[in-house]
């Protein structure tokens, strides 16, 4: 899932990544979100937490904000590289 504020730049970068077979998250700096079932989410490439409560967690990605919706949400691990969120995941939104 790659998100960007500038579509034209993103398109160029994506084209470049496709051309040289490079991972999109590295080239475009997009956030990498991996969902395991409906109870765990791994997030990489993010800047920080904007809001946090048991029902939603709002994160600042490089280009977009990521909103994790659910219930009983807990931050299992939080460091500069990655974040692991546990709980009943109900949805993931990408916002400008």
């Amino acid at each position: 899932m790659k998100k960007s504020n500038n579509p034209s730049k993103t398109e160029k970068k994506e084209h470049l990544a496709d051309l040289f077979c490079l991972p999109h998250d590295v080239v475009c700096g997009a956030s990498n979100v991996t969902v395991v079932g409906s109870m765990r989410v791994f997030i990489e490439n993010y800047k920080g937490i904007l809001e946090y409560n048991n029902e939603e967690i709002l994160l600042q990605g490089k280009h977009k904000k990521i909103k994790i919706l659910g219930h009983c949400l807990k931050i299992r691990t939080y460091n500069e590289e990655e974040m692991v969120i546990d709980g009943g995941i109900e949805g993931i939104l990408f916002m400008d």
């Binding site: 800047k47 920080g48 937490i49 904007l50 809001e51 946090y52 409560n53 048991n54 807990k74 931050i75 299992r76 691990t77 939080y78 460091n79 500069e80």
Partner: protein, 416 residues
């Protein structure tokens, strides 16, 4: 693995309150301060943080205008701090640990598997003679030497494996097949009648039949000869060949059977009184634990015990269990005739089963129930068939029965 490292290093669970909690978390992350298990409860946030990092957040707390306080402490540093106040407990735990370390150097259980004719007691006695028993130091046990000794002193053992795992000495045995052993260990042999009777069938595979179907035989009579004469082309006997005679023979015979049971007997009548006591055996010393022990004139004692086992193959010299005492009185009773009858028939069946195990089969039974005084009797005739013949070895003395000079030409052994 991570959580184990956190436990080793020690961590605290802190409560963070205020408006700037997300900012606090982000700054911690940027400065490499690890936070984990973050959760929100009403207006406060809870998170785990390493002890070393806890002292670094003072400035961040001031900057983000949140309040942080410790909720609980976890990990080894705190455990040791708590234990320093319980010196006796720690000393006991260490003593126990070293006692277990010491105890694992000895054998505390002996497991014997696969033995049939050689009893457990025979093996335990033999081990005892070799200075191996419960409590022997493991380093004193040479398993290979012990295997050799077993094979040397027990002829019936064809395979043995002595192994030691934990505090258990395991002995796995395979015994020799008795019938095979008899034949294999004999140089040459003939078959003889085990009892008087009539030959009902005879099929000879090896040897010379000396009787035929329908012949009456007496106990010890030669049935199949293991001495085979070798005829020359001119019909004269050139020598003898000795073999292990082999044949399927059945001898039918009749036998009398008599059994009796008294109408009057003694029986246990339980009074309903019973008690139980707990006991513990440490080495050879037994300790009983009970509040009050009533005295019973007659009591049935049921024993149940277990050896203390910490994990598989690790036993300790401590047994524990219960002794249950059930009081009874002996009363004289007159038994029911039908009950006695069924018991007599049951005895007969057991008797016939024991014969069957010896190769004797019952063909016909003609038994009657009768009364003799205060006894109920079961008597009559049984027609039996024995298919288990006596095997006797032909030894060198047989040479005297053979003609001089011809004995030398005997071909040694079995043709197989």
């Amino acid at each position: 693995m991570g959580s184990f490292l956190f436990y080793i290093k020690g961590y605290v669970r802190i409560r963070v309150t205020g408006y700037g909690v997300p900012r606090f978390v982000n700054i911690c992350s940027k400065r490499g301060i690890r936070l984990w298990d973050i959760e929100k409860q009403n207006d406060l946030y809870l998170t785990n943080i390493l002890i070393s990092d806890f002292y670094k957040i003072r400035e961040i707390v001031r900057k983000t205008k949140v309040k942080a306080s410790i909720v609980s402490k976890h990990g080894l540093p705190f455990f040791f701090a708590r234990m320093s106040a319980r010196k006796c407990f720690v000393a006991g735990a260490f003593l126990c640990f070293f006692w277990l370390l010491y105890m694992k150097n000895f054998i505390w259980a002996i497991e014997i598997n696969g033995n049939v004719s050689i009893t457990d007691n025979m093996i335990l006695d033999y081990l005892n003679q070799n200075n191996i028993e419960m409590g022997t130091r493991i380093e004193h046990i040479e398993t290979e030497e012990l295997e050799k000794a077993f094979r040397r002193d027990f002829n019936d053992i064809t395979w043995i494996s002595v192994g030691q795992e934990g505090t258990v000495l395991t002995i796995d045995i395979k015994e020799r097949d008795v019938a095979l052993y008899e034949e294999k260990d004999m140089f040459a042999s003939s078959l003889y009648a085990p009892n008087d009777g009539v030959v009902t069938s005879i099929v000879v595979r090896r040897g010379i039949a000396r009787v035929k179907e329908g012949d009456a035989v007496t106990e010890g009579q030669l049935l199949v000869d293991g001495i085979l004469p070798i005829e020359k082309t001119d019909g004269t006997i050139g020598g003898y060949r000795l073999v292990n005679a082999d044949a399927d023979i059945t001898i039918s015979y009749s036998d009398t059977y008599a059994d009796k049971l008294s109408f009057y007997g003694e029986e246990k009548a339980y009074t309903g009184e019973q008690t139980e006591e707990f006991y513990m055996r440490l080495g050879n010393k037994v300790y009983y634990f009970h509040w009050f022990m009533p005295k019973y004139a007659n009591a049935e004692i049921q024993h149940e015990y277990k050896q203390l086992q910490l994990w598989e193959h690790f036993y300790l010299p401590l047994w524990y269990g219960t002794k249950e005492y059930k009081e009874y009185e002996i009363i004289k009773v007159k038994k029911d005739k039908k009950e006695l009858e069924s018991k007599l028939y049951e005895n007969l069946e057991i008797f016939l089963e024991s014969l069957e195990e010896k190769g004797v089969q019952n063909i016909q039974k003609d038994v009657k129930i009768g009364t003799s005084g205060s006894m109920l009797t079961l008597s009559g005739n049984l027609i039996l068939e024995n298919s288990n013949m006596l095997r006797r070895e032909i030894n060198a003395s047989i040479g005297t029965e053979l003609e001089n000079g011809q004995y030398n030409s005997i071909i040694n052994g079995d043709e197989r």
